[in-house]
Subunit: 342 residues, 4 copies
Amino acid sequence: MTNARVAILGATGYGGGELLRLLLRHPKVDIAFATSRSREGVPVGAVHRNLDGLTDLRFSSPSVAEIAACDIVFGALPHGASAEALAPVVLDGARVIDLSGDFRLRDAQQYRAWYKREHPYPDLLARAVYGCPEANRDAIRSATLVASPGCFATAINLALIPAASRIEGTPTVVAMTGSSGSGAEASEGTHHPTRSGTLRPYKVLGHQHVPEILQLARELGSELHGLEFTPVSAPLSRGIVAVATADLARRATTEELVDAYAAHYADHPFVKVVTSREPECGPVATTNYVEVRPRATASGRLHVTCAIDNLVKGGAGQAVQSMNLMLGLAETMGLDWPGTWP
Amino acid sequence: MTNARVAILGATGYGGGELLRLLLRHPKVDIAFATSRSREGVPVGAVHRNLDGLTDLRFSSPSVAEIAACDIVFGALPHGASAEALAPVVLDGARVIDLSGDFRLRDAQQYRAWYKREHPYPDLLARAVYGCPEANRDAIRSATLVASPGCFATAINLALIPAASRIEGTPTVVAMTGSSGSGAEASEGTHHPTRSGTLRPYKVLGHQHVPEILQLARELGSELHGLEFTPVSAPLSRGIVAVATADLARRATTEELVDAYAAHYADHPFVKVVTSREPECGPVATTNYVEVRPRATASGRLHVTCAIDNLVKGGAGQAVQSMNLMLGLAETMGLDWPGTWP
Amino acid sequence: MTNARVAILGATGYGGGELLRLLLRHPKVDIAFATSRSREGVPVGAVHRNLDGLTDLRFSSPSVAEIAACDIVFGALPHGASAEALAPVVLDGARVIDLSGDFRLRDAQQYRAWYKREHPYPDLLARAVYGCPEANRDAIRSATLVASPGCFATAINLALIPAASRIEGTPTVVAMTGSSGSGAEASEGTHHPTRSGTLRPYKVLGHQHVPEILQLARELGSELHGLEFTPVSAPLSRGIVAVATADLARRATTEELVDAYAAHYADHPFVKVVTSREPECGPVATTNYVEVRPRATASGRLHVTCAIDNLVKGGAGQAVQSMNLMLGLAETMGLDWPGTWP
Amino acid sequence: MTNARVAILGATGYGGGELLRLLLRHPKVDIAFATSRSREGVPVGAVHRNLDGLTDLRFSSPSVAEIAACDIVFGALPHGASAEALAPVVLDGARVIDLSGDFRLRDAQQYRAWYKREHPYPDLLARAVYGCPEANRDAIRSATLVASPGCFATAINLALIPAASRIEGTPTVVAMTGSSGSGAEASEGTHHPTRSGTLRPYKVLGHQHVPEILQLARELGSELHGLEFTPVSAPLSRGIVAVATADLARRATTEELVDAYAAHYADHPFVKVVTSREPECGPVATTNYVEVRPRATASGRLHVTCAIDNLVKGGAGQAVQSMNLMLGLAETMGLDWPGTWP
């Protein structure tokens, strides 16, 4: 089999940088295009310093037809811009994996409510498969348009999936994130002098990843009224740790929950159910791995802690995992970097 | 009025260091003793480097009688050791403020259950006043034994107090803390190579500050079954941010809650009810100030974020605040350092 | 004596924020104006979060005459803008302390060479006193225009002053700085995701603080050809540590050097000559204190390590120290905050 | 060719952990033993959390004969212990790569002077090859005992090698290091509350890596009197940046120096000579890559900045690079991880 040709749209950001890092070393993929209008002609290593000197690839600005001729097209653009750039490519027949939020919600009204804009291609929403391999692996294999989950959504999805059919009411989630989740553009929220010495809740009860989490949980059988989610900016670069508490339709013991999680994740190679220590983001940082630990509380609720890397499992890595499924490759191909400790 | 003479028992740790910093500059206090057996004779500036060259004080090892002759005795020893050292001083008639957990719980059985040891002086528990000025100001004024709250407990108490009479069920709290909360002794959990790159839940659903929070909330009218508390180690030195969610006896609006919090804290000079941004620990780090923001969730629950410095408002500062009350001084005396940003 | 009235021009940045923090608590000063055109009318606590709720002061935009009527005017504007704003005030008779680089160099050609612009008021350069109290205390007392030293320059000056008359050749200095030195504006160099995990030399051999260091050293008797200075961005918010190596006209022993430094700094209350450990920036962070340690190397050179806080001793604190001298107040007034450890 | 069998002695520390990470994924190597007396029988993933669930390997405590039967034996023990453990293995005929300082100095008196102990096997010193592939590649290929360079020494060696034949006098080096260089054991110097907010010189002018740097430089033709080296602890986990200044036998231009460095490193695949930005440790963290930039100063000295990861190129990675050479494999095999940015 010849290698698949892939394109990365919007390759100068952190999502694009991580896709480049993963795909440059992927044994069954060749990167045809890493697009950027503003940096056209610039070596990718001039922007992504870890790749400096390790590739001759340059940012380019190909036509829709050139992009659509690729086997897989990744979108790593901001939401809004992503749908505009990807829709023509989808309509031209390419298989697309979008890292933005533009195709995650099936309902264009939900999109308008949470993303504060009209969806430019609402007809495409029904075609999109939500790219969470731990829930939708088979659908991803045959998808033409994969909407890869958000970073917070990934951590919370993976915390809830094995128990989803039993969850009801309004779960409470607090999740802390590293600063790389805010992207490559410098901003007040990621200004080192203050970010390095504070913990700062933001978008409290109003983060745009809530509806995709609810949508998936309901598809898996949850009877939910809502999700009360508090994101917190933490002073590290990479990683998300989510702490989720949810009412269950019937009480469970910790042992039952651990068994259920272990059973569900037994054939999902990136998810580690840990029980002898707590999940934490350090050991999974820069990797596609997940650490998750479920418990029953004294009041009979489900309590789960879950740790991921926000840019890999919560972004580019999960997208490559979907690509592997779409191309019929081993799900872990190119994704087995174990991380470091420390 | 001549200055009060104070002693600090166990003055080499972080609690002791912050007491020294605050009391060396307090206009109405003289430090008679900063005790340490292992460092007797050593200048305090050799241990607390910020004080190097700024005081001639040395660690000493005075007798119980010498200690008990002080107007106020601070305990900054680990729990267990604290009760052993302070009880003779209390019984000798001194007024004592203990920063450890040894006198916070009225019930010796609760103490045994959470601190895994028999209380050596259970008869003294009834005499102790829980040193939260925002709840117990009058009782503190006349107290002879003040049990100063734990750092997490302080953040969670202050998040709940104004709504306490309406809270019921089992609140959920996630709180993140800086590493100085683990004390001055190097340990695996505060080893920089790993601590600086991770977020790590610990003592999940089992932290020893839970019973003192429940005890205070119930005294203020809460009908609670328990408290599901998840502490998280975060990679910064100072600060705690707590995110609390609780059921209310009757639904409230955010406006009502903000009014109630503003009304309660109107004459508590260290608590800022913020509404135009989120509480975060950076602006209150190294200070005795508190930032708190209440909200009603869509499901009618109370949601509060609260930020403190763990060593000051969550430790030495709050203890000095109690001292001021006990000595009839202005509550804010020596505690008006505004912190820095950044 | 009634309190002095002061103005702070450009009060929204980090220099302005630290001036506000120091001067709001200074017992002999009232802040008449904290100027900002873009934030006119906004409470200062909305920008400097540590001051939120602690002052009613708002940013304002007074006339030159109103500013010049103040007893002391601080300039906390970027270089270029600073001279433009301050010159009319100086010419109107006010006493001015400028934190920018605009009045530090006596020679307008040097200014052009290092700051890449024509000086707009070259005639004022001769009037300026370089605001280093450890070298120029008497001149500062009677100055009408004080050019407060740069942050790196402060650390390097204080490392060299006591030996200046014996230094020759081309000293080598490497100094590491916290991110707050880059100011309050978010930028690529202070973007948390990358800044938090790197050490990055910058402006290698070309930093604009070099000429003010050379100018002072020569005034103190150094016979220097130049200064080879490498600044390094480090992943912390506050602090500078400088490591300086210089040839001496005649060999010295470490003991001689320690004696000379101790003697020179004996009546300079903010400088601690440490010999039992190394200077480091943590213990002096947020303070006006300095730690310095001189040594003779095996090859007979002078080796000095020096630690300061970049925004206080390297900025606003040193400027307030000059103000105290200009107003005939105790040099340490309002500047005795000891910092924290940790 | 069947895979080589390797042993790692002292596999619980950070050096051992990085060897495990690299060698578990090396295509031509099987790990026979990861030794630890204190953790015998424990899964390696219980100590090195990044490997948790990714390998079944357990720490073991094999005999000298079992160890010596391996094709390559890595020593990752502290100095002193390392020579004791490795000498019998060497004498039993195994090929050994030692990460400690025990075999780096040819002269047992130098060893005594710098390591404060008698060398237990001085006769072996002459047999050791200093494992710097960028200087000694051919000698490493046929070596039976490789002394892998220290972390600081690696950064400084690589800064000086291409100019070594022209360097004279006493170079000055300041190098900053991440906390992982202090090892896996918690200690005061790596206690997060203080380490995270300070920059701290240590072992000033007395670091034990100085003699190995001098030894290599002299072998390459430098005429050196000494090396004045100031290490600085910086608040990040990984990375070293060295700033070196040295007198040259004859003046050079920056262009000449860049050409010389580019020429020397042209066939050394891990060294990047950068000229359009400064070397920094973030982009090479967790990798075996090096960034180096030479300059001529105005006074005609050599000025070099150099960045490495202290545990990989400065430790385990460089050792694996030597192993590849010893086994006749591609020098980069198993070492091509590009790192991440951020």
